[in-house]
C-alpha cells in the first residue's frame, strides 16, 4: 500500500462523524415526499342506455368501507350487485377501521387504489381538504344519471334533498354522497322511563331536571357521558343551540362569524348543561377508545343511566347487549323555556355515512356506478335490513316493520318537519369539531370549566380557523 497511510482510528472517526448527523427522533420527518403530478388515465367504456355512466366492463373495482358500527355487509351487497352486472370486473371490497391511514397516502400520491371510499369513523379523511386539493371527483354525474330502478327518474329525484346540500362545499359541485339518515338526540329506554320511573319524555329542561332527580332517587344516573369520546355530547346539544337562538346562531357557527359562539343562546344552553353536571346527574368513568360501547352497555344491559347522547346507529351497535323489551327510543332535545326561537322537536338529523370517489381513481366510472347501485331501492332496503337505519332513498322502507329505535327516529323526523338542523362546519372545518369542541367539552363535562370559558374556547378556535391560511373557507352563497 506504499505511501497511503491510514489508520483504523481515522476511519472510525469519519464514520462516527457521519453517524452523528443522524440525530434520531423525528422519524416523522423522513417519511414524506410529495407525489408526482402525472395524470393517470381513468378507465372508460362506452355509454349506453344500460350503462349510462360509461363503465368499462372489465376494469377492476376496489371499495373501501369503514368497518364500524354499521359493519360492511351492507356494502358487500352492493359490491355483489356490481359483480353481477360486470362479472369481468371482479370487484373487491376492503373493510377497515383506519380509512385515512389506508387510503389517504395513496390519494395524496395521485395514485389511489380505491375507487369508492366510505369516508367515515374516527380516522376519516378531512373532506374539505380533499375538495380543496381537487382529490375527489364531482359526483353530480351520479345525481344526474337515471336511477337504477326507473330510467325516467334521475338519481337526484329519488333522494332526500339534504344529501346534495351536505355534499356541497360552497360550490355547485357535489363531492360527497351520504347514504343513511342519522337522527341525533337523547336516546332512552321507553320502558325504564315510563314503567320504571313513571314519567314521560321531558319536553322542557325543567322537566328534564325533574326526571333526573327522580332517577337519582332510584340510584340511576339521569345522564351519561362517554369520556373517551367527549364529542358525543354535541349530539344532544346542537339542536338546543338552534332551538334556543334560531338558525342564525348555527349559520354563524358554520361561517365562522365573529362572536358566533358568544351568542346569548349558546350561553343559556351551556348553563343548562352545567346544572346537569353540577348536580352530579351524569354517569362518568368511561374512557379509552371503547368508551361509547362501555357507556351503551351500562345503559342497555346494566340499566345504570337513563339518557345517552347518541345517534341512530346505536340501535344496531348495541343490539347484542339490548334486552328485548328495552324499547329503545330517541327524543328531541328539550326546550329551555317559551323564549325559544324554534319549537320543541327541532332535530339534528343529517345524512350520514359519506362516500367519496377519488378524482384520480383508476376506475372512476365504476366508483360512480357503485354509488348509483347503492341508491337503488333494493340496496337501500338491504341497507335498512342490515344496519337498521333509514336510507336516504325516498320510500325505500315503506311498509317495513321497523324496530323501535328506527321507528322512533322516523317519527322524530316527521315531527320535526322543516325544523331539521345540520352543522355544516363539521364537514367544512372538521378540526373545529373533532379537536376543539372535543377538548373543550371534556373539561366542561368534568366541571373544570364553565359556560364562559367554554364559549371563549370555541370562539377562539373559530377565529383561529378563520385566520388560518391552510384552511380553505366556504363563503356564504
Amino acid at each position: 500500500m506504499g505511501s497511503t497511510s491510514v489508520n483504523r482510528r481515522d476511519v472510525m472517526k469519519r464514520a462516527a462523524a457521519a453517524g452523528l448527523l443522524a440525530v434520531p427522533a423525528v422519524g416523522a420527518l423522513s417519511s414524506c415526499a410529495s407525489g408526482g403530478g402525472e395524470e393517470n388515465k381513468a378507465e372508460k367504456g362506452e355509454k349506453s342506455k344500460k350503462n349510462p355512466l360509461g363503465v368499462k366492463e372489465d376494469a377492476g373495482l376496489t371499495v373501501y368501507i369503514f368497518n364500524g358500527g354499521y359493519g360492511d355487509k351492507y356494502a358487500q351487497y352492493v359490491t355483489d350487485m356490481y359483480a353481477k352486472k360486470y362479472p369481468k370486473a371482479d370487484p373487491e371490497q376492503k373493510p377497515t377501521e383506519k380509512i385515512a391511514t389506508q387510503v389517504q397516502p395513496k390519494i395524496v400520491r395521485g395514485k389511489p387504489t380505491a375507487d369508492v371510499v366510505n369516508n367515515s369513523g374516527a380516522d376519516q379523511m378531512n373532506p374539505g381538504k380533499l375538495v380543496h386539493n381537487k382529490q375527489v371527483a364531482d359526483l353530480s354525474e351520479v345525481l344526474d344519471a337515471p336511477s337504477w330502478d326507473d330510467p325516467n327518474v334521475t338519481v337526484r329525484e329519488t333522494l332526500v334533498p339534504v344529501v346534495e346540500q351536505m355534499g356541497r362545499f360552497g360550490g355547485k359541485e357535489c363531492y360527497q354522497l351520504n347514504i343513511a339518515l342519522t337522527v341525533y338526540g337523547n336516546w332512552y329506554s321507553k320502558k325504564l322511563l315510563e314503567d320504571g320511573l313513571d314519567s314521560s319524555y321531558p319536553k322542557t329542561w325543567d322537566e328534564m331536571l325533574a326526571v333526573c332527580k327522580k332517577a337519582k332517587a332510584k340510584g340511576i344516573h339521569g345522564w351519561s357521558y362517554p369520556g373517551g369520546h367527549p364529542r358525543y355530547m354535541f349530539f344532544s346539544m346542537y339542536a338546543m343551540f338552534a332551538q334556543r337562538g334560531g338558525r342564525d346562531v348555527t349559520t354563524a357557527m358554520d361561517y365562522l362569524e365573529p362572536n358566533a359562539w358568544k351568542h346569548e343562546a349558546v350561553k343559556e344552553v351551556f348553563e343548562a348543561w352545567e346544572e346537569l353536571v353540577a348536580k352530579k346527574y351524569v354517569l362518568t368513568g368511561f374512557d379509552g377508545t371503547e368508551a361509547h360501547t362501555e357507556m351503551q352497555t351500562a345503559w342497555t344491559k346494566e340499566g345504570k343511566c337513563l339518557f345517552v347522547p347518541n345517534g341512530s346507529w346505536v340501535e344496531n351497535e348495541a343490539k347484542d347487549t339490548t334486552p328485548k323489551d328495552f324499547a329503545m327510543t330517541v327524543g328531541a332535545t328539550p326546550s329551555l323555556d317559551s323564549g325559544d326561537k324554534m319549537p320543541f322537536g327541532t332535530l339534528y338529523s343529517p345524512a350520514g355515512e359519506p362516500f367519496i370517489v377519488p378524482a384520480k381513481a383508476k376506475n372512476r366510472q365504476g366508483g360512480l356506478e357503485w354509488l348509483r347501485m347503492m341508491y337503488s331501492k333494493e340496496a337501500a332496503l338491504n341497507l335498512f335490513k342490515e344496519i337498521g337505519s333509514m336510507p336516504v332513498v325516498k320510500g325505500a322502507i315503506d311498509g317495513q316493520k321497523l324496530p323501535s329505535g328506527t321507528a322512533s327516529a322516523q317519527a322524530a323526523i316527521k315531527a320535526a318537519g322543516d325544523n331539521i338542523v345540520i352543522p355544516q362546519f363539521m364537514d367544512w372545518y372538521n378540526e373545529l369539531f373533532r379537536e376543539d369542541f372535543n377538548n373543550m367539552i371534556h373539561k366542561f363535562m368534568q366541571g373544570q370549566i364553565g359556560p364562559k370559558q367554554a364559549m371563549d374556547t370555541m370562539q377562539k378556535a373559530s377565529d383561529r380557523i378563520m385566520k388560518d391560511p391552510d384552511i380553505t373557507k366556504v363563503k356564504k352563497a
Binding site: V23, D287, G288
Partner: protein, 313 residues
C-alpha cells in the same frame, strides 16, 4: 491521483499525504455514505424545505417563508403539546435512569457477601436480568393497548385493585391532565427500564472487582460504594443513556397516540401527526423541524453538563 502515478516529489509532500488519506477513506465509505445521504440526509433536507411551504398534499407547494413557524408560535395547541413533551423530557429520563441504575446495582452488587466475594447480585439476579428485558421485546402498540386496559376507569386492573381495598379509583386516562401524564410516565418508564438495567449491568460488570474489595476493606457500605465507586465509573454510560432516553421521551408517539385520548393530553409528535392528517403538511413539517432542533439542543446540553474527567481503569 493514485500514488504510483504521482511524481516522486509530490508524493512525499505532507499536503498530498493528507489528501491521499482522505481519498482512501472516502473510497471505503463512498457506498454507505451515498446510501446514507440518499435515505437519511435528503429526506431531512426535503422536510426542512417543505416546512417553508404551504404544501397541503397536492401537487403544488408554494414558498411561504416563515409563515408556518409564525403560525406555530401563535398556536396554543402547539404550546400545550410542547409543555407535555418537555415535562416528559425532564422527568422520564430521571425516573427511568434512577430506577434502571438501582435495579442494575441490585443485580450486580446488591446481594450478600458470599464466600468471600467482594460483590454479588441479589438471589436470582440472572433471572431478573431477563425478566426486566421483556417489555423491550413487546411492540409499542401492544404495550399501549394493554396498559390502556390496565388504566381503564371501570374495568381496569388498577381501579379494580383499589376497589378491593375500598378506594374509588380516579379516571386515569379519561380524567385530568396530571393523571394522564402520570399514566404516560409510568408506561414509558416501564417499557424502557429493562433496557437500562441491561446496559448498566454491563457497565457495572466491567468495573474491576479489586476496586470493590478495596472499598469493602475500607469499610464502605453499599450506598457509599455505589456513589463513590460505581456511579463515577459508569458515568459515561449514564450520560449516553440520558441522551437516548431524553430523545425517546420527546418522541413518545405511539404510546401516547394509542393509550391516551387526545383530548386529555397529547405530546408534540401526536399534534404533528394530527396536522398531517388534516392535510397541513407544510405546517406539520415545520413542527418536525422544531422537534429536531429541540432534540439536538437537548443532546448538546446533556453532553455539556455531564462532561467530567474520564476515569481510566
Amino acid at each position: 491521483m493514485p500514488p504510483r502515478f504521482t511524481p516522486e516529489r509530490v508524493r512525499y509532500d505532507r499536503r498530498y499525504r493528507t489528501l491521499d488519506k482522505y481519498r482512501f477513506i472516502v473510497g471505503f465509505l463512498a457506498v454507505p455514505l451515498a446510501f446514507y445521504a440518499l435515505f437519511v440526509i435528503s429526506p431531512f433536507l426535503q422536510a426542512i424545505y417543505y416546512s417553508f411551504t404551504d404544501w397541503s398534499g397536492g401537487p403544488v407547494a408554494n414558498f411561504v417563508g416563515f409563515d408556518n413557524y409564525e403560525k406555530m408560535w401563535n398556536d396554543e395547541r402547539f404550546w400545550d403539546s410542547l409543555q407535555v413533551s418537555v415535562l416528559l423530557l425532564v422527568i422520564a429520563p430521571v425516573l427511568t435512569l434512577v430506577l434502571g441504575m438501582f435495579f442494575a446495582y441490585m443485580i450486580t452488587s446488591g446481594g450478600r457477601h458470599r464466600r468471600g466475594r467482594a460483590i454479588a447480585g441479589v438471589a436470582g439476579s440472572s433471572v431478573y436480568k431477563v425478566v426486566y428485558f421483556f417489555p423491550q421485546v413487546l411492540s409499542v402498540a401492544i404495550i399501549a393497548v394493554v396498559w390502556g386496559r390496565v388504566f381503564n376507569t371501570n374495568s381496569g386492573l388498577i381501579n379494580g385493585g383499589l376497589d378491593k381495598v375500598g378506594v374509588d379509583g380516579p379516571a386515569w386516562l379519561g380524567g385530568d391532565e396530571t393523571l394522564g401524564l402520570i399514566s404516560l410516565l409510568t408506561v414509558i418508564s416501564w417499557s424502557f427500564i429493562g433496557f437500562y438495567v441491561v446496559l448498566f449491568s454491563a457497565a457495572m460488570g466491567a468495573i474491576p472487582k479489586d476496586i470493590y474489595e478495596a472499598a469493602l476493606l475500607d469499610g464502605a457500605g453499599r450506598a457509599r460504594t455505589f456513589f463513590n465507586v460505581t456511579l463515577p465509573l459508569i458515568w459515561d454510560t449514564v450520560r449516553t443513556g440520558w441522551i437516548y432516553m431524553g430523545i425517546q421521551a420527546l418522541d413518545t408517539f405511539a404510546i401516547c397516540l394509542v393509550m391516551v385520548p387526545p383530548h386529555v393530553l397529547k405530546v408534540t409528535p401526536v399534534f404533528l401527526y394530527e396536522r398531517f392528517r388534516d392535510g397541513q403538511y407544510g405546517y406539520a413539517t415545520a413542527i418536525g423541524v422544531v422537534l429536531l432542533l429541540l432534540s439536538m439542543v437537548f443532546s448538546l446540553i446533556v453532553m455539556r453538563v455531564g462532561n467530567r474527567d474520564r476515569i481510566e481503569y
